[in-house]
Amino acid sequence: MNYKYFPHTEADIEQMLQRIGVASLDELYAEIPESVIWKKEYNLPSCMSELEVRNYFDELGKKNCPLTVFAGAGAYDHYAPSVISQLISRSEFLTAYTPYQPEISQGTLQYIFEFQSMISELTGLECTNASMYDGPTATAEAMFMAVASVKKRNKVLISETVNPNVMRVVKTYAQYHGVALETILEKEGCTDKADMECKLMAGDVAGVIAASPNKYGIIEDFTGFAETIHAQKALFILNADPSTLAVLKTPGEWGADIACGDGQTLGMPLNFGGPYVGYLSCKKELVRKLPGRIVGATKDVDGKRAFVLTLQAREQHIRREKANSNICSNQSLMALYVTIYMSLMGKQGLREVNELSYSGAHYLYDQLLATGKFTPAFDKPFLKEFALRTSLCPKTLQEKWKENGFFAGIEIADGVLLFSVTEKRTKEEIDRLVALIKEV
């Protein structure tokens, strides 16, 4: 019966049973009603040696077909420096639990403090928590923050230009929590400000959610939004791609009260959708409504600088049903991932990533237009993602690209394709992608 993850010998088991005063392992379950005791064999594979497991996954992996990615829609193919995976694999980080004992968890607490600091730098908002699950759930929690902060208001507006995978989660959370969620119309690919103003007039709105860049990759101009929203005593929530904030106007600069989004763009592998890392930042006056773990700096009894989980009275383990969120585990190791990424890149590196993505995306945009088979879906500024209308059959086009190892052009509306280009894409790859159109 000896198995490598169980250190028990037969003699150990015997000795332990004696100490406990029972005759067998079965007797440890004697209080359980006989009718629910599982007496069969699980219908599962038999145990495999390490070699067999490896072979199994190698074979399984062959059923996947990694492609060169020219698509985004919420997950972007940015470059991951090799240092990061090495460092986050250190078992002191990897195999620790939540830092509830600060004296032996300064490693985790310190990197969370650094994570909070860096995300706050990007968003231009003072307070950031220790991470959320992903961008969509972070946005849903931002919605709850608005409802909890603005007394006696239960309505939140969300722009139709917010990415649909964020929209779906926000809608689900709103429905069960009992938030009245209303959409703001889209106008020429952007949030219709007039429609927002009209919907704010009722005076019952707690918050407004918009996105930058939006679901078409457009960098929306939010001039006047904060003033309009604040005049109605509501909060302005901006879902923003943190990588782009090295060059784009920050949520803080737009006058937003809360910023949220997905840190996946900070060099995280695509990983078939996860784990990524949600982030949530806010103005200082909202910090007590910020959900989840927050790390603060303090001193120990000897006066040494140290870090600790703070403002815990907001959280579920103390507040139970009165807590402002149910979040417990977050995506801590992924917060470390992006913290190391941001340390390596610094402000200059993050700017260059955006510069390369911008150049590649605009080159592809021009090349696609030059084929004569594409026309602009919108005439608006963009960074690394854009939508074009095509006169070709989208399915045929996608199929052609797939056969040649590309994942490009997600169809977001009839005949409208969404492309994304990151710093990983070379000019040769772009040229090849475009050349394939002629073969369709």
Partner: protein, 125 residues
């Protein structure tokens, strides 16, 4: 252990009330601050907020605990004790000397259902 002040009215949820004509000052008792430990934050209502008897009007937090503040009276908040925003520890130092909110009462008869010092003291034992 904890002190009780004569002449105030008390709620079972450990708030005290001091009535001055149509106004009431509301705070937490010494027993309550003792039970909570080091208070780090007082979540207070805003001026002009309506409060209702037996309903929550805020919360007090220590490092590892939090307790809702239950209003012993109904009325409109006319003032809050802003000192507590910067120095919540005042509640630990002198719970009876530091009120949390001043309320313009809408129903003075509600006071009758509150406890007197003796009854409250007995309850805390």
């Amino acid at each position: 252990m904890s002190t009780i002040v004569e002449g105030l009215r008390y709620a079972e949820s450990h708030e005290w009330v001091k009535v001055e004509s149509e106004y009431a000052y509301v705070g937490i008792t010494d027993y309550a601050q003792n039970a909570l430990g080091n208070i780090v934050y007082v979540d207070m209502p805003e001026v002009d907020d309506e409060v209702f008897k037996d309903e929550e009007f805020g919360a007090v937090e220590s490092v590892k605990a939090a307790s809702d503040l239950i209003s012993p009276v109904s009325g409109v908040v006319v003032e809050i004790n802003e000192k507590l925003e910067e120095a919540p520890e005042l509640l630990n130092q002198d719970a009876f000397g530091n009120w949390i909110m001043k309320v313009k009462l809408t129903d003075i008869s509600e006071l009758d259902s509150l406890l007197d010092a003796k009854t409250y003291e007995a309850m805390c034992e």
